[in-house]
């Protein structure tokens, strides 16, 4: 091998070593989120680590040796282990013979310049329950066509990033505005009876973990939601932007403490953020269901001028054991 080729190979090996080390460090950091809020954010990107490390493993084996290759592969598998439960087909199934409930949740984005596209989407999909996050004060007029068709509506339209709007046309339901943490950010709870059983839908936008304070607010929201879900009579649905990936330990605690299930489980990962930038794709928008309910379908809808894609979930009674 010529000196020049050997030099290139050394340079390439050095680059691969740096990238592999970064992947290993990031993977290790996913387990340290409880130590510091800055480390918490590493846990959300397991999909990226898994794909990146799996692709790097053969390269690392070739350029750095067997042990590097095996270590890279092991790290990739450690991340895949968290993704596996979401791969199809193993999700809980809705009862086929009973009516379905259609829930649309969309983080409309505080700087959305095209509210008309959101309204058009809702009119076209015609869901039974609508959850909109981040609508501004000025959206009240624009949402009037929706508001006029949905008898139970509650909203806290705000010019910060935490406006909330939730509505349902299910008969006999009522909407209540409340808060799940000390900051007073809004949560809308819709209550009523559906197919002979009590049903509660909590529409929520948990703060993003952009600082220690916000992370604490987000987790406080999770704790309150878990308590509410345990206390709710009948079935519970939590819908909205939870600002965490499904494999986040904090979201795992919410699911464990509340007894709710993620509708993505066994169906797919369905990233919803950020629109137009696949390498960072994360599933942040959810429809969590109590044990009496199951999803019949889960769809990610088209871009409506937001940084999130909307989701549409069809719910039904869960099949019996």
């Amino acid at each position: 091998m010529s000196l020049a080729r050997r030099g290139h190979r050394t340079l390439l090996a050095r680059g691969i070593r740096i990238v592999v080390l970064l992947g290993l460090v990031f993977t290790a950091a996913t387990y340290l989120g409880d130590l510091d809020w800055r480390l918490e954010r590493f846990c959300h990107f397991r999909l990226q680590y898994a794909a990146g490390l799996a692709g790097l493993a053969p390269l690392a084996w070739w350029a750095l040796g067997r042990w590097w290759g095996l270590a890279t592969l092991a790290a990739a598998l450690a991340n895949v282990a968290y993704l596996a439960p979401y791969l199809p087909p193993s999700g809980a199934q809705a009862h086929a013979g009973l009516p379905r409930l259609r829930l649309l949740s969309c983080n409309v984005y505080v700087a959305n310049a095209t509210p008309r596209r959101v309204v058009d989407l809702i009119e076209r999909e015609d869901p039974d329950v609508v959850v909109l996050l981040e609508p501004l004060q000025s959206w009240e007029e624009r949402l009037r066509p929706i508001t006029s068709r949905y008898p139970a509506v509650a909203m806290d339209l705000r010019d910060d990033c935490f406006g909330l709007y939730a509505a349902t046309r299910l008969p006999g339901f009522h909407a209540e505005l409340r808060s799940a943490e000390r900051q007073g950010l809004p949560v809308v709870t819709l209550r009523g009876r559906w197919q002979g059983r009590a049903l509660t839908v909590h529409a929520v936008h948990a703060p993003p973990p952009s600082s220690a304070g916000h992370l604490e607010l987000r987790n406080e929201t999770y704790r309150t939601l878990a308590r509410w879900a345990r206390e709710d009579a009948g079935d519970t649905v939590v819908a909205g932007d939870l600002n965490a990936a499904p494999w986040s330990p904090d979201l795992g605690r919410l699911l464990r403490d509340s007894g709710l299930r993620d509708t993505r489980r066994g169906r797919g990962i369905f990233p919803t953020w950020p629109v137009g930038f696949l390498p960072l794709a994360l599933p942040l928008d959810y429809c969590l269901l109590g044990s009496g309910l199951a999803a019949a379908s889960f769809r990610v809808l088209e871009d409506v001028g937001s940084d999130h894609y909307p989701i549409l979930v069809e719910l039904g009674r869960a099949r019996g054991p």
Binding site: Q137, C161, G184, S210, G213
Partner: protein, 517 residues
């Protein structure tokens, strides 16, 4: 091999030599030598002949954005820095009754309590990492945010400022901290006799008008404010109508204008925001009329006295209602004020009270024009045994300004002082844009400085004397004295009915006690 020592010394000498060369260059800067290069040093300072003053007034570019905000751009590429000031019509004059301090606390919270998706600590960390400073302030007619940063960080700094303006988070724990600090600052400020005198004076001349309330509220009022109050105030009043954005420094014009258009343009238009209106000032105590100042009556003289045992001096504040920014005779009156008490050492008040009588170390008068009618004020502090004497002389000088026109020499000196001040109107550039933004915010054109300079040159003794005679009323002064004279209240007789009023510091303490109970 070891390098010889002289090499190391040589390496150090390089930068040192450059520094010395730079300093030598500074010595030769035009204007640094008053008598020109090589001129002999005169025997007396009076013989110094400075070179002619070169005045370059800043000429900003003005653009009105969709939505109503006005942008002023002032390019200066001397240093790689950018300064931005945003002024919005969200001052304390819009505080609802019983919620004094709401505008000021809102401005403070907008800056300090997080923005967009970021909490307060994250915002502070991001700004600190860029050595970027954002400061909030407010007054009666306006609230403001300023941004100072390196030119390369300006887009990111502007992005943070945009989030604060459009989407303040108002984090509850930080809000409570800021509110608590504000309450403590207000309590502390009441220990200052001058602050107390100013509060009582405004309450006396404005009555129930919002200008009569403390701009930052009282400790009891501020302690009751909630994040919801501030959020509602922000939503209602932090809009583009009447807002001014001034940017100065090293920036690319096209890109900056596009950024400002994105942040403060159409996206900032919200139909539910009403145009803020400052209520008209009602005359108290007989009044002396609205423009064109043909008074139906005169303001009534009165003396408000606050006893504060332990003070060695009396603080005397006196004055009455004044004019607006847009008054036609504002410049003439400013020259009159320069003669009366604007120049501390050379004014009539300074010469009589300070130099001749030795009654006060500092004495001054000034005008505070506002959107609605402002105030005319004079202030001094003197020994409590000399309170009456100092007051007599100060009121006498105001009377003399009304009865005797100022001399041509006095007007010429005042005019020269004002004209010379224009030499610094363009530098430093951050202060220049702040001043220009303030002028435009108050409805004056961006070339107001040039207009003022031309107008000042043409003002004579007659105009200045007429302005003083028609606008100042020595028999209608409201006088506030904090720290009673040694002789007691009787020493204040002859300047109007004397009323002893309670000390705001004690009132704040009583309110705190009631709140505690």
């Amino acid at each position: 091999m070891r390098r010889p020592r002289r090499d190391a010394a040589g390496r150090r000498a390089g930068p040192l030599g450059l520094l010395l060369l730079a300093l030598a260059g500074c010595r030769g800067t035009p204007g640094a030598r008053p008598s020109g290069e090589g001129a002999p040093i005169p025997a007396h300072p009076d013989a110094l002949r400075p070179p002619p003053l070169v005045v370059r007034l800043p000429e900003p570019e003005r653009t009105v954005l969709e939505g109503g905000a006005t942008v002023l751009l002032l390019e200066d590429h001397t240093l790689p820095l950018v300064h931005l000031r945003l002024l919005v019509r969200a001052g304390s004059v819009l505080d609802p009754p019983g919620q004094g301090g709401l505008a000021a606390l809102t401005a403070r919270a907008v800056r300090a309590c997080g923005a967009g998706y970021s909490g307060p600590a994250a915002v502070d960390e991001a700004l600190d990492a860029m050595a970027c400073e954002v400061v909030a302030s407010s007054d009666r007619d306006w609230a403001s945010l300023t941004l100072d940063c390196l030119a390369e960080d300006f887009p990111r700094g502007l992005s943070h400022l945009s989030e604060m303006v459009h989407r303040p988070f108002l984090d509850v724990p930080r809000f409570e901290l800021e509110r608590s600090v504000t309450v403590q600052e207000l309590r502390q400020s009441l220990e200052d006799p001058a602050t107390v005198a100013a509060q009582l004076f405004r309450r006396a001349v404005y009555g129930e008008h919002p200008y009569g309330r403390p701009a930052r509220g009282t400790p009891a009022e501020v302690a009751r404010l909630t994040p919801g109050d501030c959020r509602a105030f922000h939503r209602k009043h932090w809009g583009p109508s009447g807002a001014v954005v001034g940017v100065a420094g090293h920036f690319d014009r096209e890109r900056t204008l596009a950024d400002l258009r994105r942040v403060f343009g159409a996206a900032w238009s919200a139909p539910e925001r009403p145009d803020p209106v400052v209520p008209p000032v009602q005359e108290l105590g007989g009044g002396w009329g609205a423009p064109p100042y043909v008074p139906p009556g005169r303001p009534e003289a009165r003396v408000l006295a606050v006893d504060r045992p332990g003070l060695s001096q009396s603080t005397i504040l006196m004055g009455h209602l004044g004019g607006r920014h847009l008054d036609e005779d504002r410049l003439a009156l400013e020259l009159a004020n320069e003669v009366l008490g604007g120049g501390t050492f050379t004014s009539r008040l300074g010469l009589r009270v300070r130099s001749d009588e030795g009654l006060a170390y500092w004495v001054a008068s000034w005008l505070e024009p506002q959107v609605e009618r402002g105030v005319f004020l004079a202030m001094l502090q003197t020994r409590r045994s000399q309170t009456r004497r100092a007051l007599q002389i100060a009121v006498g000088e105001v009377r003399r300004m009304v009865l005797e026109a100022p001399t041509p020499e006095e007007v010429a000196r005042a005019r020269e002082t004002r004209l010379n001040a224009f030499a610094s109107a363009g530098a430093p550039v951050d202060r220049a844009i702040e001043r220009l933004a303030s002028l435009v915010f108050h409805g004056l054109p961006p070339d107001q400085l040039a207009r003022e300079r031309a107008a000042l040159a043409s003002l004579g003794v007659e105009e200045v004397g007429r302005a003083a005679a028609s606008r100042w009323h020595p028999d209608g002064l409201t006088v506030v004295v904090v720290g009673l004279p040694d002789e007691g209240l009787d020493a204040l007789g002859g300047f109007g009915p004397v009323e002893r009023v309670s000390d705001p510091l004690e009132e704040a303490g009583d309110a705190e006690t009631e709140a505690g109970e």
